[in-house]
Symmetry: C2
Subunit: 426 residues, 2 copies
């Protein structure tokens, strides 16, 4: 298969390596390179250190057909990208008059004059192509090392993105990478190990690459099929879905489990209400993160106190007294009450022990009752014991509830696999 | 002060290099290395490729006194960290019976049996020290290359963090870097530039390092004070709080804004209810993520439909008709209705246009009304226009509402600084 062109990304700044700021530029660039048939192959983050920066460029040039760096183009003494590349190339820095005039003009627009230190921003390695900027004082530039173009652009996301649209995207499109088709889908209720075994045939298809990403918090696993031009991506994806088991495929494309459920409801013109205790609003928040979900989501009730379960959902106080708030009976009554009061087609409910406190021998931390009520009067209930800390239990219970709703709507709520509910990975 | 030891971090996984997942492990580790007197010097992210992984380790060993890698320890064919390090060291992989037994036991606990592919998770480079795990099926391990210890731990954040506490933190503390005390706190409603100016005196203290991390989504700025042994960290932190303005300090330690608000309510024995429209349950979810919050959080209502706003919160239908669902009047009525019906001391409400659709010239995307009602009958309201996409608007509105609640409880809701509400960076 034609391997895509490989890009190396170098992000520069001690605020990145020290962990005080997330490197959002690398993922942003990587996602935009893929459709151009260019794969973001390696990332390096280095501090504001001349030696470390030069070394990162040298190493990356050996691994990629194009290198993109962000950061280190400011006016201060710790902005060293220009110096590092000049040193790596064995050239000096030369003053670029047009860049300096642009800086002066920008300051003048704010009624100010640039300081001497800004002159550094008008100096570039000899032979560099300057990438003029309209959105700041930091111009970018392009140099070449062993036939590999190196793009140096500002680290401020807004300025970096402007540079991408103005210069990098057109340039890199012209590089003409061998684009691969990508077919992504998300799975739920199946362990990564089982997923890998079921997709062995797909993995064995010539030129096809299968990537897995376990999404702990979402309780899902993302599968990405990268296919060369000579493979029918659609057919391969359909085959993969069949091998995994269609009822495990909860969303396609970039959709999350919640988005998959949201599209399912919107597509069928169905409405939903949520009644949450131990998940505390996570299910409602996941659904309402979807644009246009108001067409399906009516209301969500976070009934944390017993009194609220009775007043807002009509859960009989005696049932709570007899069975306890964490019980199948209460979960079922919550779902039924939420559906009827909202006049929704479906309602989903959760009640459980998220921990760390509140557990008992009979009802340990991680015990969660999930229930889904439908217009036909049927109420589906499952009891789960989720491992992990409070956050994990809440995340898994939310995913479990959304999946139960999805399966109830699809009418496959009964189906289970031996590997059901596992999505662990390392 | 003595130069700290240098660590290199290698994060492994094509989901990272392709931009489908953020690398949250590198910054998390970098932050925790600092107090041990170890500086995270360089980060590399590499795809699930044997050659690329081995190369990254080889390069990093040459730059650091300790190497930490996360990821690539799963059971599938693209989990290659074990193989890459064995290859780099020129040794074979050997089966570790105790690790396999632990995997079998873990599966058994969930009434399942491991698949053949899980056996890979019990294989380690010959001579490796195995780091057994209690929280998953992926054990970590330590090998040495040219006298540099290389720690390989799982990529799942929860498992990585467990490994850090159990093995890395004690080991690395023993490496004896020049340890520094860390005092962290979070600020809200103040711009990073203003924060820097107010803390100039603290920054000027000999040997003290001040690090800022703007948390865009949370609407907060984290400040970390790193102090040498000869500086009283407590006194310095107190001084910093005073300089910033106590009402801007919303949480201390690792607490988030929501956790700070939760502790404030629990500490004063106050109860709260939430009424959310555009934030869709995010505020309730943020509060209920706090262990023991049932002592303060009574209930949360996600009233997405107008009918729900009237039925569940008693918002007069005519007010919605006259002013529209996104209005100061509706936000105030939502807060008042939620507080009264829940019998809570406080209630917080949000209504706005999260987008991308639903905006108008009069009520554009990003317009949000926040309201807080108290037992004394007072209702505080603010109107905000948040930039960004749907997720950012929902995140910022949630943070804004939590902060309004916090200030109402503290009785400083009126106080404003010239830089108020600015946490965006220049």
């Amino acid at each position: 298969m034609p391997t895509p062109l490989r890009a190396g990304i170098v992000t520069i700044g001690s605020e990145l390596t020290s962990g005080t700021r997330f490197d959002t530029n690398s993922p942003w660039l990587a996602k935009r390179l893929a459709p151009l048939g260019i794969e973001a192959w390696v990332h390096r983050s280095v501090p504001d250190d001349l030696e470390a920066i030069a070394r990162a460029f040298d190493e990356t040039v050996a691994q990629a057909q194009v290198v993109i760096s962000t950061g280190g183009l400011g006016p201060t003494s710790d902005d060293l990208t220009r110096d590092a590349l000049a040193r790596l190339l064995g050239v000096d820095l030369v003053f670029d008059a047009p860049s300096w005039e642009a800086i002066e003009a920008r300051f003048a627009a704010f009624g100010r004059t640039p300081s001497e230190s800004n002159r550094r921003q008008a100096e570039f390695p000899r032979g560099a192509r300057v990438l003029a900027t309209d959105v700041g004082t930091a111009a970018g530039f392009v140099v070449e090392r062993r036939g590999v173009p190196i793009y140096a652009v500002p680290g401020v996301p807004r300025e970096m993105r402007w540079m991408w649209e103005r210069y990098l995207e057109p340039d890199l499109r012209a590089l003409g990478g061998a684009a691969r088709a990508v077919r992504a889908f998300r799975c739920v209720g199946i362990a990564e190990s089982a997923l890998g075994e079921r997709l062995r045939e797909v993995e064995a298809t010539a030129g096809v690459e299968v990537r897995y990403a376990v999404e702990e918090a979402a309780g899902t696993i993302e599968v990405r099929l990268l296919t060369p031009p000579d493979v029918d991506a659609e057919a391969l994806a359909a085959r993969a879905h069949a091998l995994v088991g269609a009822h495990h495929v909860c969303a396609t494309g970039e959709d999350s489990l919640a988005e998959g459920v949201g599209r399912l409801l919107l597509g069928r013109g169905l409405t939903v209400a949520t009644a949450e205790s131990c998940t505390g609003g996570r299910i409602a928040a996941a659904l309402t993160a979807i644009p246009g979900i108001s067409g399906a989501f009516l209301e969500g009730l976070v009934t944390y106190s017993n009194e609220a379960k009775t007043r807002l959902l009509g859960v009989p106080a005696e049932v709570i007294a007899d069975r306890g708030a964490v019980s199948a009976e209460v979960a079922r009554a919550m779902a039924q009450g939420a559906r009827e009061r909202a006049g929704a087609d479906w309602a989903v409910a959760t009640t459980g022990v998220a921990g760390p406190g509140g557990g008992s021998a009979e009802k340990p931390v991680g015990l969660v009752h999930l229930a889904v009520a439908g217009r036909d009067g049927a109420i589906h209930h499952v009891e789960r014991r989720y491992p992990g800390d409070r956050d994990q239990v809440q995340a898994r219970a939310s995913a479990g509830a959304l999946d139960l709703l999805r399966r109830a709507v699809l009418g496959v709520v009964g189906e289970r696999d031996p590997d059901w509910a596992g999505t662990r990975r390392a």
